[in-house]
Amino acid sequence: VNLLPLLVALPIGGATLALALGGRRRSANAAATAILAGQVGLATVLAARAVGSDGGRVSHVVGGFTAPFGVELALDGVAALVVVLVPSAVLLVRTATRATRPAAFDALALLLVGGLSGVAVAADVFTLYVFLEITGIAAYALVAAGGGGRAAVAAFRYLIVGTVGATLYLLGVGYLYLATGTLNVADLAARLPALFDSPLVVAGFALTTVGLGVKVALFPLHAWQPDAYATAPDDVSAVLAALVSTVAAYALFRVVADVFTPAFLLATPVVRTLALTVALGSVLAGSVLAVRQTRVKRMLAYSSVAQFGLVAAAFLLVNETAAFGGVVHLLGHAVVKLGLFVAVGAVAARTGARTVEEYTGLAERAPVHAALVGLLGLTLVGVPPTVGFAGKWFVALGAVEAGAWGVVAVILGSTLLTLAYVARLVERMYGPLPDEALRLGRPRPATDGGAANAASPLGDARVAVALVALVAVALGLAVGSIEAMVAPALESFAVAEVGR
């Protein structure tokens, strides 16, 4: 029996169950937790099976129709990382949450897990769109869960921009269908090479990548993202920051690696240069904007804009090493941002501090939290031997191999840009600044209203964050085993390199 469809069916069915239990909040909460735990177990088993199978990949066609016509689901090494990450992150945030959440919230969270897992396993560009929309709808609603005017505005903006992005992607899919007559990923990959110079295909690439770029929040399509992250409740923003953009970037990886294949980028150097420029611009702009923020959550949000620029650049380099670095950085960034957003929420819950200035002297008020924020910040900078370093190393090595010296410079320089905003925070936390700290006093939770200042739904969360920090360091040391796991999925890069 192939259990692959269960990866999507279980959380979506769970969402329905949570809604059905609507009146009894406690039962709904318990059921949601149980389903998430089950999903983690299921994803782990399936991931192990996929990685262990021939070719490192398993697939399943839903409903008995054969491949090009039926809806195909597939799980390879990269998808395996994503399907395990998604429910684990949501479960971790749940355990760190102290606020009581209504059954509808549980249903949305499970729907989100279903949508994200669906994107991970979709082997058909239209199915991918469907799951992107499911993810989006759940995410829009969750952003609004904070209540208040600002959250509503941010959620509405997110909805409009997100829908535009999804629509652009769908338009691109339509072009591809017109050009090739198929929606299946493997089928597209077989038929597209003959049509690389067709304007329809080039337009299809532009529309799908721009659409996904909106979802990933690459500069200059990022404007929705900081507002959405900053105004969402802390538990929601942790999940969004760790998963939603990550999975959109994963979809970008699928489109580049499997649908168009890197050979397309070699055949259309103008498109590749343009896309690389946008990605590198995202690194620079995101970092500069992050340095300028006064609120910690917004700073971290802009940091994501920069880090995803790096990931996108890695996929566009047409180099296997760089693509592997991109996958590692994608995973590493998700883990680090998960930890940071949970930690930031926990700090807000404990001390009410939400701005960089309010973090002054945090090391004395919440030493464990400050240390964890510092450690995760250094991971983001890429201090070895953490996962942040491993990702950067492989992307940079790939860029050197590809002879893309400009990319090398931006990647290495981005270390210093990341340092600029991380050091700003660390300096505040550890520099007691006696007189200034005295003047500020102990910041209390602001009472001037506004969703951004709302009390955090998170609890102390130090165990959860410590666990994440541990994973961030362990992943950096275990990068060799990740390499073996995802290598089969990166074959198209190796093939394109040979043809270079």
């Binding site: 070895p384 300096e427 520099g431 600044l433």
Partner: protein
């Protein structure tokens, strides 16, 4: 050669464990101090246990896994690493005792963080010393930056924060250059593992790429080695507590930069290839400029620690110059100077710290009469300063002798002249300190507002029973006459070390330095005198 050597693992593990132990016993100062001392003694013993083997030509290798594909996370202790590790652990033990006296004497805040970060810094330094390849070295090089940051900003003042920001910006920028160089080396040569006389794979690399790799690596390591114009972080970092300035900013941190340069010249490129690529002369010129310029700047510094910092900048450039000359005698002198400068400069810093604890004096112009009040301390200062200037029978003489022999043998008269001029400048910037301390009276100079009693502080029989210093600090409890033995003891040991190195340079350090040079005669230009 053994596959898994215990000693290097123990040496790195002890200070690492000490970090946790210090944190756990943070509410019990004496236990916390005990951990530091035990870890320091243990690490020194572990390094010491490798010495006979190292001198006999053995190396100690450990492979701890894979860092990234193709690059192992590996250690290999050779004579060069042993020299650096012995220096760092030996002086850590001395500084630990001193730290206890210093922190008590000044009533320093956040002592747990201080001792924990100190132990972490030493662990990272040993990692740098033992690393078997450039990437492993880089890992610890970056961790060293992270571990020392809290020490630089320890005071928590605006000035400390600014210094810390500058420190991070400079050293991380240097780290990026090292990473870029490592990346290119791995790509061009296919390996980053050190090999005596140079990495073979570089032979097939294009000279342009090899030059870029060299420049990136030397510039990156040059930041911590404070090679001008990359030195500006070092004088600012003097805002740190004095033992930090002493051990980290005269021994561990700056010498990890020098050590990186030495590895690049000796074990990545090899002297012959450095010379073939025409990289030796530019590096030597940069080092010479640093030697002279930093000495001149030191003349004008009134704050004692800043004067010492510029002296460090100048003295570190001796080592770079010696390595860049590529003559065996010059390289020998350079490597020996790593140890000699460590002992002498630590002595100077520890003296400056003791004077600060006792009299709250930080400026040279306020030091009149300090020599009479603290004769042993300032005596040690004078001895170490004389060693810096290269007076015979002191550590500095041996290293400068070899440097001069190497410079003249390789025909670089400009370098000989610069070395001699620097010796004169050394006297010029150290003599005023000694003169003011011993031969001026407080009445002759500006009053020292923080000093109490006729001879100042708590000296002599006139010392008051209860003293509270003007800034609210708690005065040290004097066990000896001039200051606490916890301060005086380490000063005398470090100064004794500087003298011993001058009297018998070939006891340990010179032999290690000799063993660290490539044995193959063809790998070096010129011959030993």
């Amino acid at each position: 050669v053994s596959e898994f050597a215990l000693a290097p693992v123990v040496a790195i593990t002890l200070p690492t464990v000490a970090v946790a132990a210090i944190y756990l016993s943070r509410s019990r100062p004496r236990v916390r101090e005990l951990w530091t001392l035990l870890a320091a003694a243990g690490a020194l013993a572990a390094v010491g246990s490798m010495l006979p083997g190292l001198l006999a030509g053995d190396t100690y290798a450990v492979r701890a896994g894979t860092l990234v594909s193709g690059v192992p996370f590996a250690f290999r202790v050779d004579p060069l690493g042993g020299l650096f590790a012995l220096l760092a652990t030996g002086l850590w033990l001395v500084t630990s005792v001193y730290s206890v006296g210093y922190t008590r004497g000044l009533g320093l805040a956040n002592q747990s963080r201080y001792f924990a970060a100190f132990a972490a810094s030493v662990a990272a330094t040993l990692g740098v010393a033992f690393a078997a390849n450039l990437l492993t070295l880089f890992v610890f090089y970056e961790l060293l930056t992270v571990a020392t940051y809290p020490l630089v900003t320890h005071a928590g003042t605006d000035r400390a924060r600014r210094a810390g920001r500058r420190y991070l910006a400079y050293t991380f920028a240097g780290g990026v250059a090292v990473l870029a160089g490592t990346l290119l080396l791995n790509w061009a040569a296919g390996t980053t593992t050190f090999a005596s006389g140079g990495v073979d794979g570089l032979a097939s690399a294009s000279p342009a790429v090899a030059r870029v790799v060299f420049v990136l690596l030397v510039a990156g390591f040059g930041v911590k080695a404070a090679l001008m114009p990359l030195h500006a972080w070092l004088p600012d970092a003097m805002v740190a507590p004095t033992p930090v300035s002493g051990l980290l900013h005269a021994v561990a941190v700056v010498k990890s930069g020098l050590f990186g340069v030495a590895r690049v010249v000796l074990d990545v490129f090899g002297p012959v290839r450095v010379s073939d690529l025409g990289l030796d002369i530019p590096l030597a010129v940069a080092a010479t400029a640093t030697i002279v310029a930093a000495s001149v700047i030191a003349l004008g510094q009134d704050e004692l620690k800043r004067r010492l910092a510029y002296s460090t900048v100048s003295q570190l450039a001796y080592v770079v110059l010696g390595l860049a000359l590529l003559h065996p005698a010059a390289m020998l002198g350079a490597l020996f100077h790593v140890a000699a400068h460590g002992f002498m400069k630590l002595t100077l810093f520890l003296c400056a710290g003791a004077v600060h604890v006792e009299t709250h004096t930080k400026r040279v112009s306020e030091m009149a009469g300090v020599g009479r009040r603290m004769p042993l301390t300032m005596g040690a200062f004078a001895v170490a300063a004389a060693g810096m200037a290269g007076l015979p029978l002191l550590a500095g003489f041996a290293s400068k002798w070899y440097l001069l022999v190497g410079a003249s043998a390789s025909g670089g008269w400009l370098f000989v002249a610069a070395l001699l001029l620097s010796g004169v400048l050394n006297v010029a910037y150290f003599w005023p300190v000694v003169y003011t301390a011993f031969f001026e009276q407080p009445v002759d100079s500006d009053p020292k507002p923080l000093v109490e009693g006729p001879l100042g502080g708590t000296a002599g029989d006139a010392r008051p029973a209860e003293v509270t210093l003007a800034d609210g600090g708690v005065p040290a409890r004097p066990i000896g006459r001039e200051t606490s033995w916890l301060l005086l003891g380490p000063i005398l040991v470090a100064a004794g070390g500087a003298v011993a190195l001058g009297l018998a340079p070939d006891a340990v350090f010179l032999r290690l330095a000799e063993a660290a040079l490539p044995t193959d005669a063809s790998a070096i230009r010129g011959v030993m005198p």
